[in-house]
Subunit: 427 residues, 2 copies
């Protein structure tokens, strides 16, 4: 079976390319060319039969957002994860990643895939750790076969894209350690692999056996999202040698996956100060030949636990403005606890705001803002509420205000500037 | 009496300059030179005797934030406004503006000034409108004497800076109308003046009698914050001819105020798409010879009523990154209703995040982020909470989580990356 990447390279326009072209108001040829070059991906595992909202990610397309959901060892509730999925969908997430840990992780993944009309991603090494622990083994005892068998199981389940930390090599870790960091590794997957490497005194097996991994992903046409295990976890650690050494690796790994006919996403930081975001996006685009860039936040300051949906929306908006393609949300509970349903909602909304603010710069979906502004001009409150990203929230504010007899809001009352100008125009 | 601007021009270092220099870790000479050139202001009316936290705004200093409070005709509660003041102070606002409308506006202003240890700003035309309405007159009947007498009253009360919309001229309004906008004027003060101009068929009296206004402000050493009555109220209206025509006026008006020895702040938009923010800041800095730029938001999309603290924080962070000096917060209730105490809190926090994210880029206060990151490395949760911008919020998240026996958080539990790396380092 040819993968979508191979079809694109052979000039074949598939149904998925046509769907994405239509949604993005671009030509199918543009999408095909982007996939062939690697600047666009359409993550879609044919076994994910509930996937109805096929989306493209990459150059020239709308900015896409992802919501991370999933259980933790201390908090496992399948129903709650399904609620999180539903609320993330309600507010417009383009994908979900199931990052479940704990004994019910396989059930959660299968349920989410079965119910998700959007693409689903995973980080297979979490399941690997779980399967090993069932056999009373630690992650350091992982064999490449353990990893491959989990990839196959998840691909059979219908996972559309998988985060695989193949770029975190001994070179990159040494680079980081020589330079020194406040917070060394903050990627869970990255930490598993560093433990493995230190214990076994060998190179990262996901790097060593990368060809085998790619070959298996190709079999199911699963997109690889190459993880950034070295991402900084503190704004003061950003853009250091370890991070950039790994990014160099990611570029080479992307090339190998493309050569094998597999679609590639590149994952990125993390915690970056505002003035380094542009360079981070540019470096990724240059070193990884334009592969779609998937950033986590980035968070632009560390001082606001409880509000990292905002620190992440600021960084995400800037990253997307400079060319990042895919924003992983951050919720208010980041750094403190597993997000609950409301955290997921706030995370998706903040991320959607960042993505849309860039979409309008890209000339997409400006009609939404136009209609809102026109309804403001008409003082048409019902329409303003209907056009709001969160209608309930907007309605709640409107209804809780002492509106009085005039068709205005309580901010200015009869002194409403819009009302005054309407009156002045009437003369 | 010499104003602070005149003293700076004469090479005199005042106590206020020394206070600001110390707080900013800069030399008193740097502050003096900035005030003399007009790139720095220290708004401080000597009659504001409760002002203990004297702050500078401008080039090379920390980014400052402002919280707008005040009553509306439909919602007047002095106690609530005092609560808003207190919560804004708690979360670190550098100034408050009292924008009260309605019959208690004079009481509210006096109370806020008496209680505010930070600088207080006002928009005097609101009181002018109120005083006229008491005499059964409309704003279109305003005489310049009405305006000057309100300025004097507010200056006597101790207002530190006043927004005066002298730049909204007939030229600028014509420019806007010829080009066309979705939402014409969204500035309350601007709308008052447009009504006045249209009714009287004369130039904006705050432009015509600018010298008289400046001369009065000089008497009390009150800083003028030249208002942007033409600011766009829709991202699709941004950076148009009307807005830039007014900005040209603001540059000339700034020069006149400086020549008279009065400190100047320039107000700016408003609603601007992400990709126009850099140019807006650059234009202000060029056309107004580096005068401190005070932006309202800017909001980067119109689709998120209920979340405009986030759309404003994104825009504010970017504006400050490019050189804006003073961020006016936006609250979640913007466009829907008068903010309540919780809205004020969320607005200040979002704005503070934006300001601090830029402060660390400017090399200021990076120790805050460093300490947070170090406490994360030590898994010291109490210290993380104590360092949080909103300690109660962070503590609430921490306490609501099923922490288990390990010193980690419920996001990853025992798979915490930081914990794993500590273990790996121990070997």
């Amino acid at each position: 079976m040819e993968t979508i990447k191979e079809k694109a390279a052979n000039g074949i326009i598939t149904e998925e390319m046509e769907i994405v072209a239509k949604e993005e108001a671009l030509s199918p040829e543009y999408i095909m060319k982007g996939i062939a070059e690697g600047t666009i991906v359409i993550p879609f595992n044919k076994k994910h039969t509930s996937l109805k909202k096929i989306k493209g990610i990459g150059k020239g397309l709308r900015v896409k957002i992802n919501a991370n959901i999933g259980t933790s060892p201390y908090h496992m509730d399948l129903e709650e994860e399904i609620e999180k999925l539903e609320i993330a969908l309600k507010f417009g997430t383009d994908s979900v990643m199931d990052l479940s840990l704990g004994s019910i992780l396989n059930n959660v993944r299968k349920e989410i895939i079965n119910r998700a009309p959007v693409m689903v991603g995973t980080v297979p090494i979490y399941q690997v750790g779980f399967e090993l622990s069932k056999k009373k083994k630690s992650i350091e005892e992982m064999k490449i076969e353990d990893f491959l068998s989990v990839i196959r199981e998840q691909a059979e389940d219908g996972v559309d894209f998988m985060t695989i930390h193949s770029g975190i090599t001994m070179d990159a870790v040494n680079s980081m350690e020589k330079e020194g960091r406040i917070l060394d590794i903050v990627s869970r997957g990255g930490a598993f692999l560093v433990k493995w490497m230190k214990k076994n005194g060998k190179e990262n097996p996901l790097f060593t056996y990368y060809d085998e991994i790619i070959s298996l992903l190709k079999e199911y046409d699963v997109t690889i999202s190459i993880g950034d295990g070295m991402r900084p976890g503190a704004v003061l650690d950003s853009t250091d040698r370890g991070q950039i050494q790994e990014l160099l690796n990611l570029g080479e790994l992307a090339q190998k996956a493309w050569d094998a006919g597999v679609q590639v996403i590149i994952e990125g930081p993390g915690h970056i100060p505002l003035n380094e975001i542009e360079a981070n996006v540019l470096l990724e685009k240059k070193l990884c030949q334009g592969a779609p860039f998937y950033v986590l936040g980035p968070i632009v300051t560390d001082i606001a636990p409880g509000y990292d949906h905002i620190t992440g929306a600021i960084g995400g908006a800037l990253a997307a403005l400079y060319g990042a393609d895919f924003l992983c949300y951050v919720t208010p509970s980041e750094h403190l606890k597993l997000p609950d349903t409301n955290d997921v909602k706030l995370g998706v909304i903040a991320s959607k705001i960042a993505a849309h603010a860039v979409d309008i710069v890209r000339g997409k979906d400006t009609e939404w803002d136009r209609k809102m502004s026109e309804s403001r001009k008409r003082l048409d409150w019902e329409e303003q509420i209907n056009l709001s990203l969160d209608k309930e929230k907007a309605r709640g504010y409107r209804e809780s205000s002492e509106i009085g007899e005039e068709n205005v809001c309580t901010m200015c009352g009869k002194y409403c500037a819009i009302k005054q100008i309407i009156e002045a125009e009437k003369g």
